[in-house]
Amino acid sequence: MTVPGLSWNLVADFRQLLMFPFMVNAFRAGTIVAVTAAALGWFMVLRRQAFAGHTLAIVSFPGAAGAILVGISATIGYFTAAIAAALVIAAVPRSLGGRARSSEAAIIGTVQAFALACGALFVSLYGGFLNGLTGLLFGSFLGISASQVLVLLAVGAAAITVLALIARPLFFGTVDPDVAAARGVPVRLLSTVFLVLLGCAAAEVSQITGALLVFALLVMPAATAQQITARPMASFGLTILLGLVIVWLGLAVAYFSVYPVGFFITTFGFAGYVLTAAGRTAVSRGRRRRAVAVPA
């Protein structure tokens, strides 16, 4: 049983899946990342900050490449870059406020392209680790060490604890910022804290799916769940459940195939999103038809 192969015996498959320590570590890391990303992603989708999440994830790529270049752990690079970027984003919008939107988009696009260019520079300066480059961009579940899992767990637990502490005022500030500010909720401070937490989550997800595919875990579960139900608690739980299912399925399928894990995770996430969107359209169309039919 040295070559992984799929059989109809699910128990044997499952045992095969967890035969190697690297795979156990991958599942541990995937689980931590899925829960953290889903929790932060739920608020991110609600706050319509998907673009910020995207930028944070992209910035984590030069961070990791730079850390490898100077010889420290890529994990430190991911977190440092993403958290620094989160603080910058939190500080910037006020000073740019009131400008035309088109030039703002040009600035964001330039910053993203420049961050990616810096990553390319660091990789080139480090010299020849092409496999490492695709891993940084598109994710890899091989070679996650036990100490990395511990770091992911510590950061994830800290992020979720802080999120739990600020969840209520943050939700209030998200749904109605003006009323929340009037009631003495520190909206601006909360939004900065949230961006830093989002940076942590983006850095964690980058280590599994790669910097370019972070959306798969940050946005897709939350967007899917918020389509299924409008009740906050229900959709929050559903988001975490979806995130876990997507990561577990993605890792399991990637283990038995030769193709990259990033592809499977994005595909499962996207399929879930498309299916719920289609289902919702069908349901609302049926409801409208019934509503028209009954009075007639």
């Binding site: 696009g109 990616l116 260019a117 695709t134 592809f263």
Partner: protein
């Protein structure tokens, strides 16, 4: 002077400078309207599509250029026909883009596993560009295509400007607004495909947005801005190529993006806030 002679003397540098100038001019001209029409997001979409299209062609054993130009032009035209009504919110857009890139990762690994792509550099080349690696034929194709884009852009610049600034009045004056919009997006697609070979799929957004953004900060006059945008783009590409030539460890794409970003930063720093009405 001896440096200049060395650059002219080496064919790969000559190709890089000539094709780079043509691609930069096309990016500068289309980028100006991309920023003016608030379609930066279109450039973002095309950068993802360029990567996946190019690698799909490679994985299928076809020529990279076919996939690149085919995917970019088709998606650009599709976006033109979906139009602003079909524009979804950023959650949907982000999900679709992530999935397209995931597909690209799949094609990359299919191609890398095939005998033709065993060295595994093609994916990196598509992502970050190989302007020094252009062959004579590729440089000729890219220069011709980019020059064609420039000519068409200059021809339609006036009506396109009218349609971009006031669509309703322009269509009342019988400017074919929809046709112009579709033609323009098609040109952006062609430019994106050409620019992918110069700076790579991930960085082409910078080449579209940075010179145009800087030009719009520096002047409010549309035609002056248009020329300025093209000039900044060409200057960035040439300066970036010189940096990469002087310091071989620095990838040319980084040099180009670094110069373009610096110009944009300087433009932001030296123009007072809210000067443009």
């Amino acid at each position: 002077m001896s440096g200049l002679a060395a650059i002219v003397g080496q064919p790969f540098l000559r190709y890089a400078f000539l094709a780079g100038a043509a691609i930069a001019a096309a990016s500068g001209l289309t980028g100006y309207f991309v920023v003016l029409r608030s379609q930066v997001f279109t450039g973002d979409a095309l950068s993802h599509v360029a990567f996946t299209g190019a690698l799909a062609a490679l994985a299928a054993g076809a020529d990279l250029l076919i996939g690149l130009y085919g995917a970019c032009v088709i998606v650009a035209l599709a976006m033109a026909f979906l139009g602003r009504r079909g524009m979804a919110d950023d959650t949907v857009i982000g999900s679709v883009f992530a999935w397209i890139l995931g597909l690209g990762a799949l094609f990359l690994s299919v191609y890398t596993a095939s005998p033709a792509g065993a060295n595994g550099t093609s994916g990196v080349n598509v992502l970050f560009g190989t302007i020094f690696g252009l062959s004579a034929a590729q440089a000729a194709i890219d220069s011709a295509v980019a020059a064609g884009v420039c000519v068409v852009m200059i021809v339609i610049a006036r009506p396109l400007l009218f349609a971009s600034i006031d669509e309703a009045v322009a269509s009342a004056r019988r400017v074919p607004v929809r046709v112009l919009g579709a033609l323009f997006l098609g040109l952006v697609g062609v430019t994106a495909a050409a620019a992918t070979q110069a700076v790579g799929a991930l960085l082409l957004l910078g080449l579209l947005a940075a010179p145009a953004g800087a030009a719009q900060r520096l002047t409010a006059r549309p035609f002056r801005g248009l020329w300025l945008s093209a000039a900044i783009a060409i200057g960035s590409v040439w300066a970036g190529l010189l940096i990469a030539y002087a310091a071989p460890r620095i990838p040319p794409s980084f040099g180009i993006l670094a110069v373009a970003t610096t110009v944009y930063l300087v433009a932001i720093a030296f123009t007072p806030n809210g000067r443009r009405a």
